[in-house]
Every structure is written in C-alpha cells, then in structure tokens.
Symmetry: C2
Subunit: 402 residues, 2 copies
C-alpha cells in the first residue's frame, strides 16, 4: 500500500489549486431579472445619459433663478404660475422672466428655467406663487447625465452582478446581458458499500452522503452539480467514470480515501493525467487529492462525510468560485469562548466544528465518519499546526458555516 507522500500545508495546496483553475469562458445570455448573482461577461457601456434630461429633485416650482434673488419670507418674489409639469410629461413652450411652472420630483425642467424652489418655501396665491427663499442656478435639479454619462462603462466584464449593478443596467434599459456560463461539475461517489438513497440497505451498506453535501456546496458557489452516480472500488469502473466525466469543467470524486482503496483513484488520475497533490496537512481531511486530466481539474475528496464536507469548504469552494469567476467569499467570523478544554495532537492544522450558544463554543466533532459532526455545527475553530490545547474559557474565532 502506498503511504502518503509529504503532507502539504493548506496554503501550499491552495496555491496549486489556484494555479490550475481557470475561469470558464463560455457565455450565455440571460434576462436582466435572472442576472443577479451572475458574472457579467462583457463591459456594458452607456448609450445615453442617465437621467436623460435635467429633472427636478424636489417637488416645487421651476423658476429662472435670477427671479428669486433677494427673496425672503418678509419680502417674497411673486411669480406668475404658467403651467404644471408632471413627471413623464413634457412642458410645451419656454418659461419667460417672472414666470414659473409647478413641478414634481422627477419632472423634466421646462425650457427657460434653471432652478427649482421647494414647495415648502412658497405660497400659492391664485395664479401666482410667492417665493420666500432665493434659489441659485441649478438648485434642486439633477442635471442630465449626473448619474451615468453616455460612454461610461457602467458595469465591467468580470464583475459580479449585485442588486445595485442590476439596477445600473436597468437604468440603461438593458433587457438581457451576456454572463459567464455556470461551470458544470461532475460529482462521483465511490465505495462498494455506498448505496443510492431510497432503496434498501443490505447488511454492511450505507447511504450515499457525499454526493449530496458536495452538490450543495457546488450549487452554493455558482456552479451546477451533475451527479454521476456511485462507482464501486474497482479500477476499471473508476477509470470509466473519470473518462466519462472529463467533458465537465471540474470532476469531484469522494471516497477511495482509505489506505487500501485510495491508491485506485491516485493511480487512475496519475495514469490518465497528473496528480498535483495527495495528502494535506489538515484535520479532518488529510487524504485529499488534486490533479488535472486532459485539462480538467479533478478533486479526490475523503470518503468520510465530515472530512469530505470540511475540505469541500476549505479547498473545493474557493476552486469553484475561481472556475465561476466569482470573487472570493470572505467567511463570517465571530468571537466566542471555548466551553470546554480541547486537546489535539494531530500535527496538522485542525478544523474543530463547534456549536455556538450564549457566546460559548461547544465542540460537536464526534468522528470524521460522523456526518453529525458537520450537521450540528454552526462553524469551526482553526487550531494551527503547533497548537495542541485550547483552555476552557479561552477566546477563539469561530468561522461560520453555511
């Protein structure tokens, strides 16, 4: 049986992953209402000014500013009201000296006017308006192009479409946009004891967990999971599964991580392509493999459900985001105090899953084989390689999951 070569520290493993994952460059066109959360593929340039006309930013009266100079409550300026300009309409004609037009927020500014007096500083008196404060030219007007100027790059290719950026595209009337396609990711569970959900279990068999947890992480990081089924611990079956899957943008195996069976995946990847690392200095999750076959990155995740999911958060999720062109996700972190003393002497960086309650962090880790070590966790505490004890009551940083 092949022992692990040197275990790679986490950051060294991430560096290899980063060097070997490229953004998927296929593009597709989606309607703007489905574009939030996607990554824009091409710069969108404004074809016109936004707003497309000078408009009132307050309700009140459009005036010629010079007609208001010197106005006060004691000495109001009296202007003749010559019309009403609602939003969405266009006032015909030009406003002359001593005249004004009623405007609502968003109304175009009638020709001849260069300021808006807020309604609060006026008094309507029959066909006249008394202006009680002076307005400078441009007062309470949003000039054409104030928000976006024709020719501006409004959203750049490669940017994540947040609600705000979707709004900027809507301001330009853009109905649909080109975005990068979501990467297609093959998920393959291995293990002769692993059975599909729903069917009966024979003695010695267990249900497939990893393809479900991995698919959830894949979908949660901008990619599309494709479950390629369960493959027994058999070299030919593994090779056939890998050959079928390398048309995808990424292939993720789980299982085959025990000393006996892990050589199978190692050998298949090494024969068809290249293994770039095998074995990482983290706990749980040591037997993680990464390689490239015919240009397709391949992950071999541990078979144990907690090891598999823990390393899916640590290594796979950042890889998926690179593939999808999504920005790295900074995990949320909170401070807590350790509820009990924890001792570890793994010689690896340890991800200790914890539940949070009343500011205290309670370890929920049972064993790597126990999915409840992850299901019941709110987050994890990282014990560095050379830390083997956390005292009860010691402050720790909890990285939140989910």
């Amino acid at each position: 049986m092949r022992p692990f070569k040197r275990l790679l520290p986490r950051e060294a493993a991430m560096e290899i992953i980063r060097e070997n994952i490229r953004r998927v460059e296929r593009v597709e066109t989606v309607r703007l209402e489905e574009a939030a959360g996607r990554v824009l593929a091409r710069d969108v340039v404004a074809g016109f000014n936004v707003p497309p006309f000078d408009r009132a930013s307050m309700d009140g009266y459009a005036v010629r500013a010079e007609d208001t100079y010197g106005a006060s409550s004691f000495s109001p300026r009296r202007l003749r009201l010559v019309g009403e300009q609602h939003a969405g309409e266009r006032f015909e004609g030009e406003v002359g000296p001593g005249e004004c037009v009623q405007v609502a927020t968003g109304s175009p500014i009638p020709l001849g006017c260069d300021a808006v007096v807020m309604v609060e500083y006026t008094r309507l008196d029959g066909g006249h308006v008394e202006v009680q404060r002076p307005a400078y030219p441009g007062a309470n007007i949003s000039p054409e192009g104030e928000d976006i100027r024709e020719g501006d790059v409004v959203v750049k290719g490669g940017e994540l479409l947040t609600p705000g950026k979707v709004g900027a595209l809507a301001a330009l009337g853009v109905e649909s946009v080109e975005v990068y396609a979501r990467p297609e990711v093959a998920v393959i569970s291995t293990g002769s004891e692993v059975r599909p959900l729903g069917g009966p279990l024979e003695p010695g068999q267990i249900y497939d967990i990893n393809s479900y947890t991995l698919s959830a992480v894949i979908a949660g990081n901008g990619c599309v999971p494709h479950r390629h089924g369960i493959v027994p611990d058999d070299r030919d079956a593994l090779e056939a599964a890998l050959r079928e899957a390398i048309g995808r943008d990424l292939v993720v195996f789980s299982g085959g991580s025990s000393v006996g069976s892990r050589d199978l995946l190692y050998n298949v990847v090494a024969d068809l392509g290249e293994v770039l690392f095998h074995g990482v200095q983290v706990k749980p999750g040591k037997p993680t493999l990464f390689g490239v076959v015919e240009g397709t990155p391949v992950f071999g995740m541990p078979g144990y459900p907690t090891s598999c999911l823990s390393n899916a958060y640590v290594f796979l999720a950042p890889a998926l985001r690179l593939l999808a062109g999504l920005p790295p996700r900074e995990p949320r972190k909170v401070k807590a105090r350790m509820a009990v003393r924890v001792v570890s002497s793994s010689g690896r960086e340890q991800f200790l899953t914890v539940r949070l309650e009343g500011g205290l962090a309670y370890p929920v880790f049972k064993k790597s084989g126990a999915i409840t070590s992850m299901a019941n966790a709110d987050g994890y505490v990282i014990l560095p390689v050379n830390t083997d004890t956390i005292e009860e009551g010691e402050e720790v940083t909890v990285t939140l999951l989910g």
Copy 2:
C-alpha cells in the same frame, strides 16, 4: 399635501415589521438534491442507527482484543488470517480465538471480533498476521449508532438546510423532504414617467430600475419575486394594482414617494387596510411606508433608486427572511479608514455608501436619485443620528453589500 408624521427610528420601524410578518406556513416536497438553502417544515426522526452496523474506522485486521494483549514489536502476537472483509460485504461465520480477518475502513466487523489493529502495526507472514501492538476492546471501531441513534431528531422543523444537514438526511436515505414554500412577493413600480426596459423612451421618461433591484433582493432572501408591472401616479390604478396583488404573501411598491404622489399610496393603503408607519429616520430612504391590507404586509419603498435599494437592504430583506422562516443574516463587516472627511447634518441615521480600496473607504454617494450610488458601492458606513462628521483617516466599520 400631507407632511410626514414623526419619523420613526430604524429599530422602532423594524419592531413594527417583526410584529406584523409571520412565516408562510405552506409546505412543499422537494428532492434532497434541491433542498439546500430551504427551511425544513417537519422534524426528521432517524428510523435506524447510523452507522447501521459496527464498522472498521481504519484499514487493518479485525481481531479479538484479548488475543493482542502484551503484543510488541519484539514479542508480536501471531494470528491466523481466516478471511478478508471488504466494505459493502458481509463476512460469513464467526472469528475464533487466535484468528483474524482483513478489513478496510468502513467494513462491518465480523462476528467474534471486538477490535481492529491498524495495518501499520502488523506484518503479514503467509497465512498469518503478526500483531505488534495490543488493541483494547472497541479500538478502531465505529459502533452502530455512533453518529445517529434510531429515534433521534436529526434535523428539526424550522431549521435551514445547510450542506451538513442535507448530509444528515442523506445518511438516513431520505430522498425528499417537506420544506416551507418560498413566499411569493409582488413587486410594483409606480410613476407615470417610468417605462419598461427594452422599449423607447419619450422625452421626460426613464426606465424602471426599482422592480429589478427589488426582485434581486427578494430572490436573494429566499422568496420568489413576481413583477406586476408599472402603475401610473393615479389613485384608481394604484388601488387596482394593490387589490390584484394582495393574494401574494407580501406586496412591495416603489415610487409614489414624492410629496405630491406619496399621498396616493398612503391613502390607498389606509383606505383598504392600515398604515403602520410612514417615514423613517434614515438617510437615504425617509419616505418608506409599511402597512397591512387584508392580512398581507405592504411595503411602500422610496422611488429614488438608491433610497429604494438601501432601504430594501435595511428593512425589506429582514422582513423577507422572517416570511421565509430563514435565520437573520448577519452582514459581513470590515474595518477601514475614511479616505476623505465626511460631513452630514441630516438629523437622521445615515447610510453612506462607500467603495473600498487599499483599506480606505471612499464615499460613492452621488444623490438618492443616482443608482450608481449603490452600483459602485462595496458597502456602507452608518453615521448615527447625532454624528455629523467623520474625519479623514478615522476608523469606520463598513457593512458589506451583496
């Protein structure tokens, strides 16, 4: 024209929202592969133990522990190898004294054995195995039910299905689960100047921005947006739109927020139901309305794109999560230094949008009417009601958007 009544502080407004939003109780059945991110509607109880049998947690040899007592490298115990037990199979017969069976990680423990000796502490010698270390009873065995015990509540109704919880359900072989239905939310833009995307703009018209930004926030918080189109500033049209929309779980209007037009929505909601607040002490976003009509909560968001989206993050998103039964989302926050001096004297709590670059926060706020105030923002800095200045270089907390 109706002035704002007393402006409500943010927390008082949130309290009214929390008191008037109830989780949508409709349930639907989804397949487990689509369940991540949904909220489980009923407790799921384990119908059997996981693992369903005692299994090896290491590769090695299943033994009777007492046969190994006293073993060392110098004085190994010699056991007869009577078979091989792979994962997913079942060893027939019982292992007797002085015998052992080869096992792989995950293999059931053969009858008669009560420990596993790791392969690293053995030497294979023809039909015999030399054991070089003693094993205590239970060593390297995951006992039946160690992870989940029959009768355990594995995931509770009301819990968010994280990847880990999906994994726990998979461990039970659960193919589909009952989850709360995603709330259906009506989105209505108002304003006679507002036009649908794609068509031409006449002078004085602008494109609909808010229904797109609101829909993105709605979809991003576990609900389903339904765009009910654009309604002109007209009482009868607004009333008809509201009557049509109250079959939904929540109705969100935008616009109608200027002094002239805002009375329209206020009056329609007040006539058909009850306005619970109108006007909040935040900037931008003062003219936000909340009410209830025939049991359906109704939001009236400001018409200005930045005010609308800013308050969608502040007030609408928490309301959507309550409606969907999702836990509150703690926003990510980072520390930064203000790149320039900022002066505000609004007398309201101010949400200042900023762009982050090299640890510095640059204000990107142009005007409430400018969508680029949000589109170009990485997050916002909150200026409390009584703070009117942030000095250049002062440390601030930036709440990240998106």
